[in-house]
């Protein structure tokens, strides 16, 4: 599963992209976020306020609790501000 980070999430995590595997622990976006928070202070901070973090799965805006499988592309980013 490819994970992408954008804007301030990318800057705070010092990383634009990584690969992780789905597991018993990570089956949907909710459990992915729970797992993310356990990865250290930077992750804890980035995922502390989920009002300012948006999730896309396979390049579509994802509702909470979207199920995940290996091969999916998951992106975390702030509310969009283009235009």
């Amino acid at each position: 599963m490819k994970i992408l980070y954008f804007a301030w999430l990318k800057m705070k995590l010092g990383m634009a992209e990584e690969n992780i595997d789905c597991s018993d622990e990570i089956t949907d976006t909710d459990s992915l976020v729970r797992w993310m928070k356990t990865r250290g202070p930077a992750f804890e901070e980035v995922f502390s306020d989920l009002n300012v973090v948006r999730i896309a799965v396979n390049q579509e805006h994802a509702p909470t609790n979207t199920s995940l499988k290996n091969g999916d592309e998951v992106a975390f980013f702030p509310p969009v501000t283009g235009g």
Partner: protein, 149 residues
């Protein structure tokens, strides 16, 4: 038609290309967004647009298709720039063409409202104090998008 590009664009050229040789279009509406020197009261010296390649194009195409389904459009265009841009430069262009002016006006307004809340772009503003800040989402944009639900 949608374009995501670093290069600056010229509104007149884009409009000419969209309507060239056509005599069935009665109304053309364009919206151009420009880099302003002030945002939320703070001085801005330049703007950088980050985006999500792939998802950006996908979402813009969806937004354009939605406009074409809701209004009678004979042509439409969305151009959004990415990368660094100077004050006064254009960021985004939307053009809609229709027989009826009301369709062209509403579709252009809709395209901008949806683009502002659905297309994965993020603005990083460089200020006169040397610091850069990510622009926050505006409640007014979220409210504007809701009226099309």
């Amino acid at each position: 038609m949608i374009w995501v590009q670093r290069d600056i664009f010229n509104v007149g050229d884009e409009m000419d290309k969209l309507t060239a040789g056509r005599t069935d279009i009665g109304a053309v509406v364009s919206f151009t967004g420009l880099v302003r020197d002030v945002n939320d009261g703070a001085a801005v010296t330049s703007l950088t647009l980050e985006h999500y390649p792939g998802m950006t194009e996908r979402q813009l195409e969806k937004i354009e298709r939605e406009a074409q389904a809701r209004w009678d459009l004979q042509a439409s265009l969305i151009i959004h720039r990415v990368g660094e841009m100077a004050l006064g430069e254009p960021i985004v262009l939307v053009i809609t063409a229709s027989v009826h002016r009301q369709h062209a006006f509403e579709a252009a307004s809709f395209l901008m409202d949806w683009l502002k809340t659905k297309a994965p772009f993020w603005k990083l503003e460089a200020g006169s104090d040397g610091k850069s800040d990510w622009v926050g989402a505006r409640k007014s944009d979220i409210d504007a998008a809701k009226k099309w639900n």
